[in-house]
Symmetry: C2
Subunit: 417 residues, 2 copies
Amino acid sequence: MPRLSELSENERAEFRAEQERAYAALQQAGLKLDLTRGKPAATQLDLSNELLELPGGKGIADDGTDTRNYGGQLGLTELRAIFAELLGVELDQVIAQDNSSLSLMHDLIAYAMLHGIGGGQRWAEQKIKFICPVPGYDRHFGICQHLGIEMVPVELGPHGPDVEAVRELAADPAVKGIWVVPMYANPSGAIYDEQTTRALLAMPAADDFRIFWDNAYAFHHLTAEEYAPLDVLGMAAEAGNPDRVYQFASTSKITFAGGGVSFLASSKANLDEYVGHAKFRSIGPDKVNHLRHVRFFGDAEGVRRLMREHRDQLAPKFDLVGQVLTERLGPHGVGEWEAPDGGYFVNLAVPDGTATRVVELAKQAGIALTPAGAAYPHGNDPRDRHIRIAPTFPPLPELEQAINGLATCVLLAAAES
Amino acid sequence: MPRLSELSENERAEFRAEQERAYAALQQAGLKLDLTRGKPAATQLDLSNELLELPGGKGIADDGTDTRNYGGQLGLTELRAIFAELLGVELDQVIAQDNSSLSLMHDLIAYAMLHGIGGGQRWAEQKIKFICPVPGYDRHFGICQHLGIEMVPVELGPHGPDVEAVRELAADPAVKGIWVVPMYANPSGAIYDEQTTRALLAMPAADDFRIFWDNAYAFHHLTAEEYAPLDVLGMAAEAGNPDRVYQFASTSKITFAGGGVSFLASSKANLDEYVGHAKFRSIGPDKVNHLRHVRFFGDAEGVRRLMREHRDQLAPKFDLVGQVLTERLGPHGVGEWEAPDGGYFVNLAVPDGTATRVVELAKQAGIALTPAGAAYPHGNDPRDRHIRIAPTFPPLPELEQAINGLATCVLLAAAES
């Protein structure tokens, strides 16, 4: 079959008519499908239902802590120990907090705004810029936008952003941060390699420049290859910039998205500074939920085992996405995508200038997609080509319908353009 | 027995020698007791142990919400309904959030700093002052101190602060808030009456002036008289200042101090503004914990029933404190205190200039007390006379030892002065 770009004018008109018929049929099907957010499926959540009856007993941890009462700013030691092992950091380099690592990121930036970092000037009194590898995570960009931080996009490759471009930007003292999803980046699936990481850790930058190392998918492998997290804190120390990294993790996509626990791994100095602010906000995190997770996981291997059960559910969904896109778009040479090795998304690049149209067509056919451009600061994808597919939530038959419908929209938008 | 102030010089010397002997004996007893913080006792926490095995099932709420997954910024509707009834507000006037209402207070002030309130200028760009009725809650003052907010103390009477003094202060546009613990104020046990409340709601003040109405002990009655919370939101609307009040509550001293849920009750406009910021911080509170609490409470009456069980445990402790202080200090005419009708504290006023000495003496005898002055901004009690007694945590026999020991220290310090 000839590629769309190789069709004659007549053939192209015929192709378009064909896609219009297919789209009309799609609209008639009256679908109501949602591919917008990276939500775990109900069957994934079921894997952790035991948590709904834990911790049991009297809520006393092995170290004697009464988790029901006040106190314990750092979180429950047993839980910290499990995630210290998983992340490859020391116990005193990680603290456990409440549901949602996004809150930790937000608060660290808010504290920097209100108090500065490491004795530096308050960010609220300065023009602040963050480097944003794109495509990236819309909620990272949302924090920046809401707090008036200027976002400077840099193209993200398969192993990280262009290091030279980042280095040049970081030389500006107004540049105070970079967003990094190091494993299975949201949405491209990129995996930061050691070389890129070391460069980011060693490059000259402001004293209060921080890498927001959001390891949201550190254990969320889709293949049998279970990459170990990079020892980013160790490398930071080796580079002479031990305080440059805030590493985040959470169980939002391990146990319950709506009732998990979060982690901040960083240098002792950074953790002390964080706690020095957080202690005015709360007398301590929800330690009962910490104990609940400790009882459920047992140990680090318990987490790894659970993640393999997630993989068994998710890998077929990602395979299906690749298969449908290959079958439907491949023959026409339309669109680009890669099968990620982990994480929660497939990034589909459609022909330039058609992403917005695809999302609109899909919406009118009952298929909700993340707005085109969502993976870019201010929603502005300069080539209007990226669509984030979140295949985890729907069951397989619905997912197949949705991706097929999406393919129809992609082809119609391409034919129209 | 003559009062200490009526003793002759010789009698006074004898009295002092007697107290020194008593204190020496106290030191020899080698106590290790803690009256510092308003923590629930383990037996109180036991009342909610059922929570440790809830919510059970698959975590699905009656309205179909899968609490395990993302979403639901306002908190679980069923839980909001229970506390709407308890607080006497409409469902759309209350939202449920995570553990710790202190975090809500902190965040509202942080958001005001970073974004302003109701379109007003950002607080971070202004000199900000808060009115602080004293004695008051040290963690309220801690937030102000940490964020550089100037605190203006006003004496707190049994029904609220001096309204004229507050009115004069509030006329200053730099004054943006007042801390109020309306029922069983921490630490004095004061109960704000309707007249005072209406005056605070009606007085002229900046548009972005807010009453931080911390109803931490709204249901924490120590007597059979279960005062209903004032309809502060209704009164605010009647006064033409519907957005003046942020009301807070939590289950920290209802279920688990280390794993409860918190509530913000306010006008629709205020709640919308709060959520407009909070949604950048989190995809929603821990709804599993919300459902856990719904299943445990059942309904509003379930909360009231539980609070009566707390009362059965706490009333004897407060009675004991009053009894020991009356027996030991009464005859000498030393010290003033009142039996509170609820809450977590007894405020003991010792002779001027001796509070710091009492706390030091107690510490050296193994009895930990909150630092003298803790109930004042910057820890500065101008007459050095207030000591906050937190009788809830220790079992009765320990509490009796501790209060007896404290009485010995009070008498010795009085004799020395």
